[in-house]
């Protein structure tokens, strides 16, 4: 039951364009010390998937910098390991077209998928925060002899508030009966597509080659919906913590979720399944005599002289004396000067907030300050 992994690094970039101007969704920082891709990658490694391809498109330098040699995920290997799959690398992509959907991306790596020897392929998006044992899905997939098994989770959906989340309906045997790509139904509990799925590789290759021949471009519309009746598509019902980030509001809300002890336990304190990330070798966080911190997550490398409440501080953040940071997310190496007052702010990397600045957003519309910004 050898399995390869494929991660889509760019698919949802437009959802949080404030943070993806210079990077892929995969390399957006999250949770003090992680990038989104760390969750997908760690889930794979922790599920003994050691052959992982990351499909990229544009803006992937920060992703390459983050992954580096792959050693931090123990994926620096002669055979297998982690591979960046950039555009223009295969015969199909000869026309230098860039893909816009998952299926287009998969067409671009058709020869790569052909060259694998694994029986199964796990596909995973990068806007997904969870700690899931993929072996459970793969074993289920094998046991029921499925062609495609999609992980779903039951959540309460409010009418007319849906983004591009897909709803998957299935019968009592877990057989998929319908896939709703743009639902505007009544409110209620629905199974949503986690965009984590297992394909039998031979079936995946068949789907892609069919799509190339017929010029199909969308996996759900053009393939899954049409074949629901005749193919073995199943759902796997996941019950653990799951967050999908499809707007900057989501980003803010799910970041703040981490201040909840239960969420932290489900994400970070699972036995044998830690979330790995690039090691930066920052020294431990330093609190001075004047520091006052409550209900916050603080990364290594921070130096805190001021007041921090309900906030997320990434590595290397410095909070000067009398600064008052609340309900904010400060990314790597943000510097908050003396007497700064921040509320509902998201700073990207290397932002400098000068002494005395007072900035405030709202939790429904946090104020995002771009990379290297000086305020």
């Amino acid at each position: 039951m050898s399995t390869a992994g494929i991660i889509f690094s760019n698919i949802h970039d437009e959802n949080i364009s404030e943070l993806t101007r210079m990077r892929t969704m995969a390399s957006v920082p999250f949770g003090c010390r992680y990038r989104f891709i760390d969750f997908a990658l760690s889930n794979m490694v922790n599920s003994e998937i050691y052959n992982v391809g990351v499909i990229t498109h544009y803006n992937y330098q920060s992703l390459m910098d983050h992954i580096g040699t792959g050693k931090d995920w123990d994926l620096s290997r002669r055979s297998g390991g982690i591979k960046i799959l950039p555009p223009f690398i295969t015969a199909y992509a000869g026309e230098h077209k860039l893909y816009t959907t998952r299926l287009e991306a998969l067409k671009g790596i058709y020869t790569y998928l052909q060259s694998l020897t694994d029986d199964y392929v796990v596909l995973c998006d990068c806007d997904v925060v969870c700690n899931i044992d993929l072996r459970d899905i793969i074993e289920y997939h094998i046991e029921i002899k499925s062609n495609l098994t999609i992980a779903v989770k039951q959540v309460y959906i409010v009418k007319n508030t849906m983004d591009d989340t897909e709803i998957i309906e299935s019968d009592e045997n877990g057989r998929i009966t319908d896939i709703l790509t743009a639902p505007f139904f009544e409110s209620g509990y629905k199974d949503i597509n986690l965009n984590i799925c297992v394909f039998t590789r031979s079936y995946l290759l068949k789907v892609i080659s069919d799509s190339i021949v017929h010029n199909h471009s969308h996996l759900s519309f053009d393939i899954l919906q049409k074949n629901i009746k005749k193919e073995r598509y199943r759902v796997y019902k996941y019950k653990g913590y799951f967050a999908r980030i499809s707007s900057i509001k989501d980003y803010f809300r799910h970041s703040m979720d981490l201040l909840n002890s239960e969420v932290r336990t489900e994400l970070f304190r699972v036995k044998n399944r830690p979330i790995y990330t690039k090691v930066r070798n920052s020294p431990p966080a330093q609190y001075t005599q004047t520091a006052k911190v409550s209900n916050s997550l603080i990364a290594d490398g921070c130096i805190i002289e001021g007041i921090v409440e309900n906030s997320i501080l990434f590595r290397g953040v410095k909070v000067n004396k009398n600064a008052y940071i609340k309900n904010s997310i400060l990314m790597q190496d943000t510097l908050c000067g003396d007497n700064v007052d921040l509320n509902c702010i998201i700073t990207d990397k290397n932002v400098v907030i000068r002494d005395g600045r007072i900035l405030s957003g709202h939790e429904t519309l946090p104020f995002v300050i771009g990379k290297n910004g000086i305020v």
Partner: protein, 403 residues
């Protein structure tokens, strides 16, 4: 393969018996320091930061944890195909089997390791000091002076000089006299235990020392004096910066405390020379609603709900609400339950302290540190005074007596 200009030989053999319970199961260089480090992180990081990418680590006492910690050298960027970090343990040759008989003998037994890389210079380090140093600058000094042996020195207070090997220097920094732990020190320049040798000289004196039956096979006591007495070119390289021998419980505690403060004596947040360590994939640390943290350092993986003042808290430590930790060092994965009070203590890794227990006493100085062993389970409502060593025997004796 290319030869290397300079390789490092790191003497990590010491049991470090003056660290007592901390080195029961591990070698001294594997002792924790500063929240996320082991002592050996400092010389290893110094090497790679100085462009020295080949390090032989000589060890024979409880090497398992050190071997495991060093692994393939990847955390220090020392996982090289040619060079990198290698553990050098004693071995059986065709006819004989020898443990290392002293620091000089340890390197003598590994002369073929040195020969393999055929370096021009050999840097000899020990694994029990905390400092950041650019060995490259020292090597340039050694080369410029056409020196045979260069010894790094640091100025120490007059009153402490008699604890060190003291060097008297001429104006050109050449060495005019040695005193090993002198009663009446003639200088305040102390040897840091960091040596650079020109390889051929090192080899010559190690072979001579090996043949000398009266030698104790020690670098400082035998090899260096022999070179000096033979009139070799010997210079001292003056180091300015933080340097601390952490061979005792008190000095280990002091070195941890030196990391604290608005302007710490030893600043780890200097990004020009970062200290690398093996990472354990812990999440960021969480600070609770009613937590108080002042003048302390907190490492990833912690959950702090109580009070931490003037303390160093390592990875994965839980401090429950109501607990108060002051002037202490808490090592990896300890659990400090509700209303525990800890003062002037070092608590080794994976120990659990039951609620309401009181450890140590508030004091003014570093003497009388309470030391708690690793993997202990300390019951609730205990009272452990200052200046004791607590292991499982201590616990069973003192709780047995109570019931």
């Amino acid at each position: 393969m290319r030869n290397k200009e300079c390789i490092a030989m790191l003497l990590a053999g010491g049991q470090g018996s003056r660290l007592y319970l901390l080195t029961q199961q591990i070698a001294k260089p594997a002792v924790s320091f500063g929240g996320k480090y082991k002592i050996i992180d400092f010389p290893l990081s110094n090497c790679i930061n100085s462009g020295i990418d080949t390090v032989g680590v000589m060890t024979q006492y409880q090497p398992l944890m050190l071997n495991e910690y060093i692994g393939n050298g990847q955390p220090w960027d020392l996982d090289r195909t040619y060079g990198g970090v290698m553990i050098l343990q004693p071995y059986q040759a065709s006819k004989k089997a020898d443990w290392y008989k002293g620091t000089a003998n340890a390197i003598y037994q590994n002369l073929n390791f040195i020969d393999k890389y055929d370096p021009e210079y050999v840097l000899v380090l020990s694994g029990d000091h905390i400092y950041k140093m650019d060995y490259r600058a020292m090597l340039d000094f050694h080369i410029k002076n056409n020196s045979d042996c260069t010894i790094a020195v640091i100025k120490v207070p007059q009153e402490e000089a008699s604890r060190f090997g003291i060097l008297s220097l001429r104006p050109d920094m050449s060495i005019s006299e040695f005193q090993e732990k002198p009663k009446n020190p003639k200088s305040t320049m102390a040897s840091m235990g960091v040596y650079i040798f020109s390889k051929e000289k090192l080899k010559k004196y190690l072979i001579m020392d090996e043949e000398n039956e009266n030698s104790s096979k020690d670098f400082g006591k035998d090899v260096i004096p022999a070179m000096f007495n033979s009139g070799e070119r010997m210079f001292a390289y003056k180091f300015e910066g933080y340097w601390k021998d952490v061979g005792t419980i008190e000095s280990l505690w002091e070195a941890n405390m030196d990391l604290l403060g608005d302007k710490p004596e030893f600043n780890l947040h200097d990004s020009r020379s970062r200290i690398s360590s093996r990472n354990y994939a812990d999440p960021p640390h969480y600070v609770g609603f009613d937590a108080v943290i002042q003048n302390s350092i907190i490492t990833e993986g912690c959950e702090i709900k109580g009070t931490v003042i003037n303390s160093v808290i390592s990875e994965g430590v839980f401090v429950d609400s109501g607990a108060v930790i002051k002037d202490s060092v808490i090592m990896r994965n300890c659990i400090i339950n509700k209303n525990v009070v800890i003062n002037y203590s070092i608590i080794d890794s994976n120990t659990v302290v039951g609620s309401n227990t009181i450890i140590g006493e508030e004091k003014e100085s570093s003497s009388g540190i309470t030391l708690i062993e690793n993997h202990l389970i300390i019951p609730s409502n205990m009272k452990i005074p200052s200046d004791v060593m607590v292991d499982s025997k201590y616990i069973s004796k003192n709780t047995g007596a109570k019931e």
